[in-house]
Amino acid sequence: MTSDVAVVGAGPAGLCAAIAAAERGARVAVFDRDGPPGGQLIKQTHRFFGSAREQAGTRGIDIARQLGARLGALPAATLFSDTTVLGFYPDRVLLAERDDEIIKCRAERFIFAAGAAERPLAFPGNDLPGIYGAGAVQTLMNVHGVRPGRRVLMVGSGNIGLIVSYQLLQAGVAVTAVVEALPRIGGYLVHAAKIRRAGVPILAAHTVLEAHGTDCLEAATIGCVKDFVPVPGTGRRVECDVMCLAVGLSPLGDLMWEAGCRMVFCPELGGHVAWRDADMQTSVPGVYVAGDAAGIEEASSAMAEGRLAGLASAASLGLIPGDEYRRCRAEVLAELDRLRGGPTAQKVREGLARLSSGPAGGGVSADMDAQVISTQLLETGAPAPEDVARATPPPERLARGPVAVVECFQRIPCDPCAAACKHGAIAPFADINDLPRIDHDACDGCGACISRCPGLAIVVVDESRPDAAVVRLPCEFLPLPRPGDEVSALDREGRPVAAGRVVRVQSGRALDRTAVVWLEVPRGMGMVVRHFIAGAGPAGGPAHE
């Protein structure tokens, strides 16, 4: 078969590349070894960050469906699923295998978007069954509906470690702890807050020292580390039948090596990645890269890179006039700059600078990275009083009636809250990496923002009643409580602090599976209570199953 553009990988990058090229009239063949398109999106149950203008606020699983449908509606595009690409040949041919049959595809342009692989970690016993990649557990649980076990130790506090911990709780699996070898939490602090208030401890400067068990994992020894060296005498045993390794990803660069692309070692991007120009074209003319295969980043950046590679390949085939392509490219590059502009993308910017001519995103000053976050918050995921104070409405406003409290302390690329507020109380974002700015006096406490915040970092607090306070909390656990239920109210660290009574539960289509639970708690506890469990469950336990 022949094709104008051959795309390897139907994840966020590959799908966006294929859609962009096929929309411009290129005949596109997309190869993916998996069944349904979407790559890792098909297991991402959380709402995405990024710009509300793009896909932010939409769950990964829904983005996968939308992109798959868009590709399917394009007659110029053909998806070869359950098809594994075997190799790239210098006469511009891809070989692929499906059902023991070989498919040969000759193409004018190639876009390699094969994604990444999870890294293992070296420690005694690391080969025991029960020790899995965190993404593997996510696949087992969110795609195939099977729990990995009963009690999980999570190794690594990057976004994958934090998100999978939360998803384990949603599936009714206990998380004993999250250990992180670095002295601070690696992922977004809003993800950390979601598991902290459910009682899961996050231990920075800790790692796994040894796994125990005969046939399967039974327990692990964890201990303190300093500069990646274990501190003697700090080891302690934790019971767990599952350990998830979330210690980073390596780009899958096999096809780039095979094609002879110039590869550059960029540890900030996960290892060896292909050099590319501002069109995502590698040193081999006609070969483009996008997504995690081009360097480990967030899915939102992967989608933008894919779109850029798709547009560039179509333009190079004469399918987009030069002026129009330059305008489109400028738009995508500006979006990438926004996504990579904040402090959480520092590493990515350094890696891209090393690649030297990539779309590195420019002019981020040290000042811009400066942000006020307490050490406690960075190390444990639970905000210190000074962090909470910055989010707390003035006492007279709290006393007047319900008001939204936005507990978003870290500059991350995310802005759906501004669009969610119909009263203009949350200011539009000049920079997507800004912290949300809320005018508490303009807020009428309607709560529309609660289920729209991808970080589940907004609650509504009503301290106006003389007898009790009411806190409205986002809830993504089953079973949902019913009005009248007596529950145990938890603080931001999952500690029971008061008795609570459910007074109302909002759910339904508009809330997109994030229910809002109205909880009556003692007066003065409105700024303390952030979660609840039915009865008194164990810390980190399957609180809602």
């Binding site: 020790i131 696949t139 195939h144």
Partner: protein
């Protein structure tokens, strides 16, 4: 081990099918990976390593790492984390590297030499464990 209700996801399952693992009859859903069906049935040990015979489970669940190689319908080195379950499959734990024996008559000759590793024929599974009725 199956998740019955989930706050975000609706699981769409194929029909229930029976398959044979190490002489036991187990159930799974058609089209799910063999490893998922085994895990749901509480089976975590999928193979034993070539040199030390250490137990191995899956690791990546997306066909990357080869930690989950098993003998399926007599064929060794099948990545069960991505191989789809079908009715009547015979699944065996693999010891070592596995051995592909092209045809049944040759299998008889090869069998003694292959005793340490998983002997396999195109016709069906062997491997020292009892078969399902």
């Amino acid at each position: 081990m199956r998740i019955e209700r989930h706050p975000i996801i609706e699981f769409v399952k194929g029909p229930t099918v029976k398959f044979c693992f190490a002489g036991r009859e187990l159930q799974g859903f058609q089209g799910e990976p063999i490893a998922a069906a085994l895990h749901a049935a509480g089976v975590k040990v999928l193979s034993h390593s070539p040199h030390l015979g250490r137990p191995r489970g899956f690791f990546c669940a997306i066909g990357n790492c080869s930690s989950c190689l098993m003998v399926v319908n007599g064929r060794p080195n099948v990545r069960v984390c991505v191989e789809k379950l079908t009715a009547g499959m015979t699944v065996e734990r693999q010891r070592g590297r596995g051995r592909l024996v092209p045809a049944a008559p040759a299998a008889a000759e090869e069998a003694p030499a292959a005793a340490e590793e998983a002997p396999a024929t195109a016709a069906g599974a062997a491997g020292g464990e009892a078969r399902c009725g």
